[in-house]
């Protein structure tokens, strides 16, 4: 049922887009048909695939690295409170600083290539994942931990059976926010460093007022966002099967 409503809403959006494009003028907002033609063109000459590939490498590289670093770090911070209390100030400080501020510095050290791009994505995605994982461990039910101590479970058992599963919802929430920021930073990185990928195309078409092509890129980015978020929802559903009460 929801799927039908969603589809209907999509048609309504396209309809609205159409009406607006006819009234505003095709130079500013292309018609859906023109956009579809541009998409066909971009796919046929392979430019979209190349740009998408570039952007995905940047995104997956930076985001994957962020998850690999942030989840264990957040867990360690939550489990060993002296570590957590020591680091949290710096994590919060860094999380509050606009990451764009670091870009000139990153370019100086890492250049304009993939390393710099991946690092910019990493820097954006890593903070929300650390903060959420840390909060997740701290939020785990202390009574369950006491129960585990009562049966003399080992530290590892407490981690494996109580702390880790207990913080999964928080970790997933962090991964979701991290994915969104990572995606934004992918485009930011492509605009600020060597102009490539989807961000690069966005810059080129935006500056030359080729709005149909520009719209194609925007829509592709939206689709990537939906796919990433949907994947994480699947993972969450799998890990939280116990919550499904029918």
């Amino acid at each position: 049922m929801i799927a039908i409503y969603r589809t209907l809403f999509l048609f309504a959006l396209i309809g609205l887009w159409w009406i607006v494009s006819l009234n505003v003028g095709a130079n500013l907002i292309p018609t859906p048909v023109a956009t579809l033609q541009a998409a066909g063109q971009l796919i046929a000459d392979g430019r979209l695939a190349v740009a998408l590939g570039d952007s995905l490498i940047t995104f997956v590289g930076g985001y994957g690295l962020a998850a690999l670093v942030a989840v264990p770090l957040g867990l360690v911070m939550g489990m060993f409170l002296p570590v957590g209390k020591t680091l949290e100030v710096y994590v919060y400080a860094l999380a509050a600083t606009p990451r764009v501020a670091f870009i000139p510095l990153i370019i100086v050290f890492l250049g304009l290539g993939f390393e710099a791009k991946i690092f910019i994505v990493f820097l954006g995605a890593v903070m929300p994942i650390i903060v959420n994982t840390y909060a997740g461990v701290l939020a785990v039910d202390q009574e369950l931990i006491e129960m585990a101590r009562s049966v003399r479970a080992s530290q590892f058992q407490i981690f494996r059976r109580i702390l880790l599963p207990g913080s999964v919802p928080f970790i997933i929430a962090g991964l979701r926010i991290g994915a969104t920021i990572g995606l934004i930073n992918t485009i930011v990185a492509e605009l600020y460093t060597a102009v490539r990928g989807l961000g690069g195309l966005l810059a080129i078409y935006g500056n030359t007022f080729r709005m149909a092509e520009y719209f194609v890129i925007v829509i592709v980015l939206a689709i990537i966002g939906v796919i990433v978020s949907e994947c994480l929802r699947q993972v969450e559903g799998r890990l939280a099967r116990w919550k499904a009460i029918d």
């Binding site: 009574e143 129960m147 049966v151 003399r152 479970a153 080992s154 059976r161 116990w242 919550k243």
Partner: protein
């Protein structure tokens, strides 16, 4: 039927001497005295109930006996040694404390982690104790799908699974309806009759305390201390006759209730504080 008070051999399983415990002494708020200079003795193989108003430190006693908490002053001894959490003590917590993301069988199995059993032995234990509490059909269910009474039985199976010498039970039947409660009480009496663990049982119910125990310890709050100890002296096994119909039951009940009434009316922080004893308004 045998009339027993105390226990065979009469050795002491659990002993608390002059125990005090306050909470919040690390923060800036003034500490709450949960227990003050408390003495408690539970003989080997006997069933002792602790009765008292909310907040008088009943849970704190159990946590001290399990070694989950350290006393500020005084001495706690379990089997002659300082308490240490482990499989030799089974703890049924107030509010169950089941792991929500683990199945019923995994919850029971969790109690066995510290025992060096092989896989088959563990599985056998889990299914044996799930059968004992009548939950074999729900081995693969998650706690969230169970009723309160069923959760209670999972918690009981988990506490029994290590075959402990000591059982600590914190208001285990408080959230059950009257019928389930009665069934569980009988079930517990039968289990105890077979195995004769040393049981320290916390309850709000005077009737339940009389029905199950050898001795009843009445506590008073702020700070928590023992104000009266009563030997029940009814013959075991008690599911074989109607305990509530005996004169002794009525006598004990009257005595405990009047002690509790006095306690509540004389407690300045109680909502029912009324030292004159005359009805208010």
């Amino acid at each position: 039927m045998n009339v027993r008070s105390g226990a065979p051999g009469g050795s002491t399983r659990i002993e608390m001497r002059g125990v005090s415990k306050a909470f919040g002494s690390h923060g800036n708020a003034s500490p709450v005295a949960a227990l003050a200079n408390l003495d408690l003795r539970v003989p080997e193989g006997s069933f002792v109930s602790v009765v008292g108003p909310s907040g008088c430190g009943k849970t704190t006693i159990l946590r001290l006996v399990d070694g989950l908490l350290a006393a500020d002053a005084g001495e706690v001894r379990v089997s002659g040694a300082p308490p240490r959490p482990g499989p030799q003590v089974g703890f049924v917590f107030q509010g169950f404390r089941l792991i929500p993301w683990a199945t019923v069988e995994a919850n029971v199995d969790f109690a066995l982690t510290s025992l060096r059993l092989d896989k088959a032995e563990r599985a056998e234990r889990v299914s044996r104790y799930l059968a004992t509490v009548g939950l074999s059909r729900f081995a693969k269910a998650y706690p969230g799908t169970l009723s309160g009474g069923m959760k209670q039985r999972v918690a009981l199976a988990r506490a029994l699974a290590t075959d402990p010498e000591i059982l600590l039970m914190d208001e285990p039947f408080a959230s059950l309806d009257a019928q389930t409660r009665e069934l569980m009480q009988t079930e517990l009496m039968k289990l105890w009759e077979q195995r004769r663990q040393t049981v320290l049982f916390v309850t709000h119910s005077v009737d339940e305390a009389i029905l199950l125990s050898d001795r009843i310890v009445l506590m008073s709050p702020r700070p928590g201390r023992v104000i009266e100890e009563i030997e029940v002296g009814l013959p075991h096994p008690r599911w074989q006759y109607d305990v509530r119909a005996t004169p002794r039951f009525t006598e004990l009940r009257t005595r405990l209730w009047s002690a509790i009434r006095e306690l509540v009316l004389n407690d300045p922080s109680s909502d029912f504080h009324n030292p004159s004893g005359r009805p208010t308004a």
